[in-house]
Point group: C2
Chain length 318, copies 2
């Protein structure tokens, strides 16, 4: 559970960020937004900070991590679905054909495969995802997926919360998947995680009451869906947002309409050695129009190679 | 903005509730749910309390108060819509024909009339509603509508929050209407108000970014919609809920599946003198199946006549 502002000034905020323009601009913004004498002061109840997840708070290569969960579930239940051997994208999954999988539109893929896996209650799904996260390994980093979160962004979340900001995840990923695995990692409670969701159904049978997930997409929390969901669910316009791809651009644009009271941060994947380097031509996490507008409008761009001392928490010196 | 638990024991919680079984059962529940040594202890992050609004936190007779706003808006803009003189329900509104209006299904009415009034931005709509609330008067009580909130329920909200509960409104009313008018009255921020909503659209033109409300219902937050919305938006099952009609029954049932850790409260309108008396046969706020189940399953029923010392804040002795 996050804490409200205690007017705590962290003596050394953002320790994993290198000194420089990016770090300085973040600190300057936070200090001015919490200073009652500043023209850009924001009252605490309006300090809403929205973060994309994949590629912004944790890695997303070679694929969104949720897809590895889906792949493992498909493989684990393939015995009950002999037809999958001849049906895409299941065939590609069962044959480890990543090249074929990459040809499929990712949202289509998520929809198709989530359909197959629906029907469980949210509680059952949560337990399955948690059990998977405790053991599954990233194929090239050889770490648990929840170890591949960005240490500098964890520090940014803490810094914002210490200054009275309410931190939200607003991500295209499945809301139930994120709630099951990321609440403790990020210090963000379920009710501050907004994501894509399946339609659901309320069941009432013989005094037993439950909700089940239906094989139908309820909402895709991407592109225009991000500001629309923020408006419907939070009912306030953020003054701080962070993303890494063109899917975040409408959220960034809407936030930017707060003028000098708003801060827009793009995480730019520039570190081919410690993480991955990609932007305009990537199928996962493409940053093209967003990069143009960030450069044109002077939004802040975090250069992972230059601005971050470490990428992941396990790189920290003990 | 609500505060987290400070382990504050109010010396006299619920002062406007008469001593008796109802008040005692509420206090006993809260004390046990916050006592680490109790078998029904609930950790603070899971203390989710959901309240219906119309008829639970404020009055709803002769009609949901939002309808008075809609009526006033229809009258104010009738000049621009000559066709309304011959189209229901506008005709009935313009002719003050309450008998005809009561024949219309309320949700249909809300949909139809909200459609007419859509198109503005959420910010513009908010200002219109706030201006209306500051001056409009209830037709028989001759008070502003936001003065017709229930003092005992305000105290219950405070008492829950003082014990670490996060209080939510989960109502069939329009979410933008409630956010514009009720946040300060109840001490509940926008992001903890869940309601019915219109579909919305993100606009991006020449560097101007906005969201507009479309003339189409996005979600009706009533009946099964209440537990489904709580699950999607909060992602946790409440342990406390309060309502006053059959529209709250699925939320009550779902909450009750927490067993001894759950508290279900029905507000029963029994006070013909100070408020209104109605239940099984009322078109607005019908309480029939819900009353049966509350009696059968031993849920708590607040009898407004017997359990409440005052109904409204303005009745309090100065
Ligand atoms: Ca992303
Ligand atoms: Ca009600």
């Amino acid at each position: 559970e996050e804490k409200g502002a205690d007017n705590v000034q962290l003596t050394n905020p953002l320790p994993s960020w290198n000194e420089g323009k990016t770090k300085a601009s973040i600190i300057e913004f936070i200090e001015k937004s919490t200073d009652k004498n500043s023209p850009t002061f924001v009252p605490e109840e309006d300090r809403i900070a929205c973060f994309d997840n994949d590629g912004t708070l944790w890695s997303e290569k070679p694929f969104y991590f949720q897809l590895f969960y889906i792949i493992d579930r498909v493989k684990a239940t393939a015995d009950q679905h002999p037809e999958w051997k001849n049906t895409q994208p299941y065939k590609a999954i069962l044959e480890n054909d990543l090249a074929q999988l990459k040809k499929t539109d990712v949202h289509q893929l998520l929809e198709l495969v989530q359909n197959t896996l629906a029907g469980s209650t949210p509680a059952e799904y949560k337990e399955m995802v948690k059990a998977w996260m405790a053991t599954a390994q990233h194929p090239t980093k050889h770490k648990r997926f929840d170890q591949l979160v960005y240490q500098p962004m964890l520090e940014l979340l803490d810094y914002l919360r210490a200054n009275g900001y309410k931190t939200y995840i607003v991500s295209g990923g499945g809301v139930d998947f994120m709630r099951a695995t990321l609440t403790n990692v990020y210090g963000i409670p379920s009710e501050q995680i907004i994501g894509s969701s399946l339609k659901t159904k309320f069941n009432s049978e013989n005094g037993n009451y439950s909700i089940t997930r239906l094989p139908k997409i309820g909402f895709i929390d991407d592109k225009d869906g991000k500001p629309l969901n923020i408006n419907t669910i939070i009912g306030k316009k953020p003054t701080f947002c962070a993303g890494n791809s063109d899917g975040d651009l409408p959220m960034m644009q809407w936030t930017s309409s707060q003028g000098d009271k708003a801060f827009m941060l793009y995480v730019h994947h520039t570190d081919v050695k410690r993480e991955w380097a990609y932007d305009r031509n990537s199928s996962v996490g493409r940053l093209n129009k967003g990069l143009d507008q960030a450069l044109k409008d002077g939004w802040t761009i975090a250069d992972m190679k230059d601005d971050w001392k470490v990428i992941y928490p396990f790189e920290l010196k003990k």
